[in-house]
Amino acid sequence: MAQIKNKPKILIIEDEKFISKAYQVGLAHEGFKTIAAYDGKEGLAMAKKEKPDLILLDIIMPVMDGLTMLKELRGQEWGKDMKVLVLTNSNDQAKTSESAHLNAIDFLLKSEWSIELLTKKINEILNIKD
């Protein structure tokens, strides 16, 4: 791990507990500090409080879905430039383009992405070299 002292903080907003757990465990192994929220509303509150370096955002969620959360986030002064990577299993084209409008970094199909690949992607995003 290159930068143990100053671990990047990743907020995982994912209603599916197993997947959330896998990300938390996997990414922690890869040297990230992970925090988790299980719906959009919770995620929004946590993002405000924790100011993560990156948010991994699911789309289909109870209480508040991912796109609504992203919209609200972008409406906040503190959240308008926050890095967000959308990770979902719904490949709805309309939602893809909407999230692009809301300045999401990318729109990834969860089932296609292993922890290993995801780590690489996150490192790219956060400009971290192995």
Binding site: G26, Q93, K110, S111, E116
Partner: protein, 772 residues
């Protein structure tokens, strides 16, 4: 007008003109002939009369010369001239008395025509006279003043010459007009040469003979003398006249009709003028002194300054012509009437056949087709009747055929109506100006209208067409586009069309609009539509299912995938060999499951038409390159290298890059999957332009495709036997997806293959320069 009447009028007119022309010609010819004849006769008679006149005057001259040669007169005159010359008055008086008595008593008594006998002296003075009071009269002066005689000629004349001056009127001499004749007096002695010695004296005889001249000219004199005839002209022609005219254009003999006309009647006519002014004798037709048209002939008696004129009234000369004309007209009229009658009768007989045909035609016009024209005979009319009857028969047959055809047509129409009304879909026919012309029951029911209520109304008065939530402008409606472009327009379920009715009800529909053509002209369109409310619901459910399934299937698979990975990578502690082997198997199965889910979802989206095309101008080589880059990892795993043969020129087209990349991706994954590690480990990708198409081919040197797979190769889920053996992980949807996607993009796919040697898959897509 009847044909018969026309024929009669025509022929009668022809005959009338013919006869009329003939009559006019004859009339003109006869008129000219008669005139010429008459004029020639007149000229002959005029010449005869001229001879008569000269003969008559010659007679008077002879009388004068005879008396001038009287010995007593010659001797006494000579003596008297001597006495006057010598101035012996006594002798002169004696001789004058003696001579005058001789003239009075011994001369004029023997010729009653001579009323005065003068002897004129050398100066023209009367020196002796039968009428003694005339002695001393200056006749030279009278010659000068009145041209009463020709003393001046006579006083210088030779013996035997006499000079005549006819038709002189001198009141002091006689109440009647006279003729003066002069002749020189010669001595009884002869000169040395034996010639008569002329005296300077002249005798002047006054003849009262005007009546005689008239009688001579008219032939009366001859009759008086006992001639059997002589006045033929005057007897035949009541208007015939012969008279003399003096230089002063006054009549010099009396008119036949007016005895007192002599020396009174002015005659200033064409022949008189010609005679005295041009010295020309004329013969012809002109107006006489009383303005009546006459035929006449003139003789100019230049010696005596007279014109002799013979005239006959033109009317009288041409009178016989009138009679001839009358007879001719009568004959013509008779001929005309006879021929008119003949043609009338003939035409009635000839045209009776035509009349019958006309009558039959009238009956036919009223609707009786059974009637026939009964005309016999082999002439043209008989032929006509025959043809007419044949025509009637033919019409009768045609009518029967027509009637049968009409029944057929009606049955056909009923059948068609039955078909139209039993079609399970709404059917509306609109005219080229978008008015409703026909509508079946289903259409009435779906659109909630009645045909009778909306007939001839334009479509936009009945419903609104929507695409999704958007109201279509009139010109974008399928029916309008079909009529304007002449091409069929189809709107399927995925096109999301709705009819919004007047009630506001919104019905999802599929629409098929076909232009209706008559030859090359578009006369309307047929619209067939279906209420797809049920399908729509099913489709929505299906979409939801896909959406839900994609999410719900993937979620647990993702969790499995992630935990397997963590086990595999030792994040949950080290695994022993067997565990590791098993977990590897789980990983592979999971990946396969994920791939399967992806393929199925993809497929279902393509099939449902939910896939949205986003056409953009892209470089095809770049799209292919990105697919190659994507597949490169996979290729490397199998130690294969992807070789890209770039096109010479940039190829650009408007297409959906994602869909096209998917096509190339599938080709590449297949090529990688079925390549064998043998001599050649390349996969060659070519991009070429071929006219209006772009062809991309992917060549591998793998297992090849068996012939028996050919017919089913592009079927859904089909996999060839050798493919299953080579790689169990395939799903059998790759080529099917390629085919479906190319169908959408207007492209094609084909291949060449040899078992064990490899395969070339090629796809073509149209190059679209502009987005329509």
């Amino acid at each position: 007008m009847k044909l018969r009447t026309k024929a009669v009028i025509l022929v009668s007119t022809f005959i009338f003109l013919l006869i009329g022309g003939l009559l006019l010609y004859l009339d003109g010819y006869l008129r000219k002939y008669l005139k010429d004849q008459m004029i020639n006769n007149l000229r002959v008679m005029a010449e005869v009369s001229e001879g008569t006149y000269f003969a008559f005057t010659e007679n008077e001259k002879i009388r004068t010369i005879d008396w001038s040669s009287d010995g007593y007169i010659r001797n006494d005159t000579e003596a008297l001239l001597e006495a006057i010359k010598s101035g012996n008055a006594e002798e002169k008086d004696k001789l004058t008395k003696e001579l005058s008595a001789y003239l009075r008593e011994r001369k004029i008594v023997y010729d009653p025509k001579v009323i005065i006998f003068d002897i004129l002296g050398p100066t023209g003075m009367v020196i002796a006279s039968s009428k003694e009071d005339r002695i001393g009269v200056d006749e030279a002066e009278e010659e000068k003043r009145l041209n009463a005689h020709k003393f001046s000629f006579a006083v210088k004349a030779e013996f035997g010459q006499a000079f005549i001056r006819p038709v002189i009127f001198e009141e002091d001499e006689s109440a009647e007009p006279m003729t003066h004749v002069v002749a020189r007096v010669f001595s009884t002695k002869r000169d040395d040469l034996g010639k008569l010695i002329p005296l300077d004296a002249v005798i002047l005889l006054h003849f009262t003979d005007a009546d005689k001249i008239n009688d001579m000219l008219s032939g009366k004199w001859a009759a008086d003398q006992g001639a059997v005839s002589g006045q033929a002209l005057f007897q035949k022609y009541k208007t015939a006249e012969i008279y003399l005219v003096g230089e002063d254009k006054i009549m010099a003999s009396s008119s036949r009709f007016d005895a007192g006309s002599i020396l009174r009647q002015k005659v200033d006519t064409v022949p008189v003028r010609n005679c005295f002014e041009n010295k020309k004798e004329i013969t012809g037709e002109y107006l006489n002194y009383s303005g009546k048209p006459v035929l006449g002939s003139t003789m100019c008696l230049e010696r005596d300054d007279l014109a002799l004129i013979l005239e006959v009234g033109a009317d009288e000369v041409l009178a016989p012509l009138k009679e001839v004309s009358n007879r001719l007209i009568m004959a013509g009229l008779l001929a005309f009437l006879a021929s008119a009658l003949t043609i009338t009768i003939l035409s009635r007989f000839l045209l009776s056949g035509l009349r019958k045909i006309a009558m039959v035609a009238g009956e036919v016009a009223k609707g009786d087709l059974d009637i026939r024209a009964e005309v016999k005979g082999k002439d043209e009319i008989g032929q006509l009747a025959k043809v007419f009857n044949q025509m009637l028969a033919s019409i009768q047959k045609s009518q029967a055929d027509l009637f049968a055809a009409e029944i057929n047509l009606r049955e056909e129409k009923d059948r068609l109506n039955a078909v139209i009304s039993s079609i399970g879909e709404g059917l509306v026919v609109v005219s080229a100006d978008y008015k409703v012309m026909l509508m079946n029951k289903i259409a009435e029911r779906i659109l909630e209208v009645s045909y009778s209520g909306i007939k001839d109304k334009k479509g936009d008065k009945i419903l609104t067409v929507l695409k999704g939530d958007k109201i279509l402008p009139f010109e974008e409606r399928p029916v309008v586009q079909a009529i304007r472009t002449g091409k069929a327009v189809f709107k399927e379920l995925s096109d999301n069309y709705y009819y919004q009715l007047l009630s506001g009800k919104k019905i999802p529909v599929t629409i098929s609009t076909t232009p209706l053509k008559y030859g090359e002209t578009i006369i309307g369109a047929v619209v067939v539509f279906r209420d797809i409310t049920d399908e729509k619901q099913l489709d929505d459910a299906k979409s939801n299912f896909i959406s839900i399934a994609s999410h719900q299937l993937r979620t647990p698979l993702t969790a499995i995938k992630l935990f397997v990975e963590m086990l595999n990578t030792g994040k949950a502690g080290r695994l022993n060999k067997t565990q590791k082997e098993y977990i590897e198997d789980v990983s592979i199965s999971t990946e396969r499951m994920i791939g399967l889910v992806n393929d199925l979802l993809n497929l279902s989206r393509i099939e449902s038409g939910k896939l949205k095309s986003a056409l953009m101008l892209v470089r095809i080589d770049e799209v292919v390159k990105s697919a190659i880059d994507e597949a490169d990892v996979l290729a490397k795993e199998k130690k294969l290298s992807l070789v890209f043969k770039k096109p010479k020129n940039i190829i650009q087209s408007n297409l959906d890059a994602d869909l096209f990349r998917q096509v190339i991706h599938n080709l590449l994954t297949n090529a990688i999957r079925y390549s064998t590690n043998g001599k050649k480990n390349d996969i060659i990708v070519r991009v070429e332009k071929n006219g209006k198409e772009c062809i991309v081919s992917v060549q591998d040197f793998g297992i090849g495709i068996p012939d028996e797979a050919k017919s089913r190769l592009f079927d859904r889920f089909y996999r060839a036997d050798n493919a299953v053996k080579a790689d169990a992980n395939g799903t059998g949807v790759g080529l099917y997806t390629i085919k479906m996607l190319l169908n959408r993009m207007g492209g094609k796919v084909w291949y060449e293959s040899q078992i064990g040697k490899g395969t070339i898959f090629s796809v073509s897509i149209p190059i679209i320069d502009k987005i329509k």
